[in-house]
């Protein structure tokens, strides 16, 4: 009997834990409310299935436990029952998958008015690059990285000369404008992860990855690295600040461009 009681208790206690737990996701700060909603749907469906299965097991153990003289029923299979169970499961799966794919479609299609912001990862530091006045990011190349040009921006690409470079500092984003985060790494895998934005993506050396968001709440948010990148992985933190437009412009004016940075470092050299 203890078994039955404990099994039922596991089911009930799990639900209570879910409802009462103080550990829940951070308040959202981007447009990916959709993702949270999909998670909620999934919780409902899976929660229901979990409780149903465990309670059913508990019931069976109670009702059909061995007593002297008992004999099990002989029933090899029941096609009809299995067919219905499979159908119901399929419906459950579709109910989770359909919204999921719908949102994913949204997630991978960057709106055309999004501004690009480049995030560069290296052991164990975040850097950022914003497009300058021309609104375009120049090309880059890991081979061009030197002490003076730590992000390897291509000096021969005129589009990159006015890019704004933030080495190891804070990134600011304007509220309400879609941004495409263009992600690049110069050494190993990293992952640009701001819990409040929900979105995250690995940064892979040798290629460029992306995701997009629209910040919906001003504030200061912590950037975590979510892909193991060596011993410094847990220390690889950064800061993203979501500003209103005015604050953002003020901040933007204070940043240095690629050209200014190269000039400051003395001898302007050309790419090898």
């Amino acid at each position: 009997m203890a078994v039955v009681f404990i099994l039922a208790f596991v089911a009930v206690a799990s639900v209570l834990f879910h409802l009462l737990s103080p550990w829940w996701w951070t308040p959202i700060a981007s447009n990916w409310q959709y993702i949270d909603n999909t998670i909620i749907i999934t919780f409902w469906i899976t929660g229901f299935v979990f409780v149903a299965v465990v309670l059913f097991v508990a019931y069976c153990v109670w009702r059909f436990r061995h007593r002297p003289g008992n004999r099990a029923h002989y029933e090899p299979e029941n096609r009809k029952l299995e067919f219905w169970l499979a159908t119901v499961t399929t419906i459950g799966v579709v109910a989770m998958l359909a919204p999921g794919l719908f949102v994913w479609n949204h997630f991978v299609k960057v709106p055309s008015d999004a501004t690009e912001v480049e995030v560069v990862g290296q052991q164990w530091l975040w850097s950022f690059r914003l497009p300058g006045a021309n609104g375009k990011l120049g090309t880059s190349e890991t081979r061009d990285i030197t002490a003076e040009n730590p992000l390897g921006v291509n000096k021969n690409d005129s589009a990159g000369l006015d890019d704004i470079i933030i080495q190891g500092g804070e990134l600011h984003l304007p509220i309400g404008k879609p941004v495409k985060m263009v992600l690049r790494s110069v050494d190993v895998l990293h992952d640009f992860y701001v819990p409040e934005f929900r979105a995250k993506m690995d940064m892979v050396p040798g290629m460029v990855t992306y995701f997009w968001i629209t910040p919906t709440r001003t504030g200061t948010f912590e950037v975590l690295c979510a892909e193991l990148c060596g011993v410094g992985h847990p220390q690889m933190r950064g800061t993203v600040v979501v500003d209103n437009e005015a604050d953002y412009q003020t901040w933007l004016q204070q940043q240095q461009t690629f050209t200014q940075m190269m000039a400051a470092s003395g001898e302007p050299q050309t790419a090898q």
Partner: protein, 592 residues
Amino acid sequence: MVNIPSSINDPIPAAEVEDVELYHPHSWWTTYVFSQDAKVIAIQYSLTAISIGLVALVLSWLMRLQLAFPGVFTFIDADRYYQFITMHGMIMVIYLLTALFLGGFGNYLIPLMLGARDMVFPYANMLSYWIYLLAVLVLVAGFFAPGGPTGAGWTLYPPQAVLSGTPGGQDWGIILMLSSLILFIIGFTMGGLNYVVTVLQGRARGMTLMRMPLTIWGIFTATVMALLAFPALFVASVMMLFDRVLGTSFFMPAIVEMGTQLQHGGGSPILFQHLFWFFGHPEVYIVALPAFGIVSDLISVHARKNIFGYRMMVWAIVIIGALSFVVWAHHMYVSGMNPNFGFFFATTTLIIAVPTAIKVYNWVLTLWRGDIHLTIPMLFALGFIVTFVNGGLTGLFLGNVVVDVPLSDTMFVVAHFHMVMGVAPIMVIFGAIYHWYPKITGRMLDETMGRIHFWVTFLGAYLIFFPMHYLGLLGAPRRYYELGESVVNPPSAHDLNIFITMMALTVGAAQVLFLFNAAWSLRHGKDAGGNPWRATTLEWQTPTTPPPHGNFGKELPVVYRWAYDYSVPGAPEDFIPQNEPDPENRSREHAS
């Protein structure tokens, strides 16, 4: 179904190798050490796997201590922490679970349950074990090599795995790890070919595939999958070894490491991830399918009822096995791969939930109107159902591509795979040991100790990993040596971590009780007799217990019915052994 002419009429012998042809050992060495008897090899495999598994268990305590009390145990620095999680993960998945399920249970049960004298190639089978042992030794050598074992995470993602920012990356660690994996694969292939060919070609008379116990179906399918999936890991390991040792650039693009330009260029780290997961996802089912099979038999025997929907169970195993080769990139949703893959892989991943669900339903429907004996194997089977359903359902979160985006690489994933892989199959292993220990040793394990062991392990493990999901939901990333100040680490989360660690240590202590039980019962356990559970399958029908080399004495059994004739109406007993003749063909009527 078509009426098939019986191949029982074929003038094909029951076994290609007759008993006289078996290599019967003559010395102590060839009986206990270099034995070619599958049962001895099975025990060697199991003891080695459990020993190395205990090392991994101890590592998990150390990791938990660090996570609960950062900074208190100063000998666990960041380097060590990463070495510990890497070795913990790799040992648990490959050297414990894969080896124990296939090398251990596979070797013991396949010949016995199929009515064969031995594996088809006993010599290769023996080599398989010794190469496995060598692989384990090479792996353990990492702990003593300069620089220690690799700390790249069990996924060994390059470029990080071979660079100096990772412990063992520029030392011996990664080299030993890759060599050990390559050895493991070679050794496994020798054993795996044996298991597959024995199942396909070495069965007893009357033993059709559709009369095999589900245990064999699970182990067989898992072995086939392993033979097809391990090649990808083999290739990935060889290529990474070349990147590290010869300086090739398979996985290495242009890299500036800590301000120095490396000599690599043009490679693609994503390629490694594809190769790894083309192996890795089948691998997780390789450790799940044997558990599925064994638990089906445990439930059926101890509920005295045939497994519900046997045919569907077999097909579900086969379909899960095949589908698991086309879902691998669900581990890479946020890896930066072609985003359009998300649609394909999310769909295939969730489709797998349907055959898996059928299996779950059939387990619980077997309980329905059964005659449930709450023996210890049954308790573990119930524990398996609860934890597997829980872990499987959280898999659906991760499989649904957008939901995975916030959850990937957080403790939610860690909680998912521990529940579904670190707890559920472990439950089955324990259940199976309680179930077959009497056959292996002739004695029963102690019941009271068994119950304590079950309750502490089941409830303790649930309490470790159920709350852990919520840390992940909160946003806590995995593989963090310490989280420190962060929105995702409020004081309450820290308290939860302490609680989890306490539970982990408790569960660990319970395993000591189990080991004591296993040793103690060897001498003092109740005498078991040949068939203590009154089960139908052939391993319980051997003339002597434990079975001798050659398993069945002079004459091999002939099989007349499926493995699940429990509580057949009208039968005198509530079970009919598979080798009991069936003059009226009743079994067929009921079962097909």
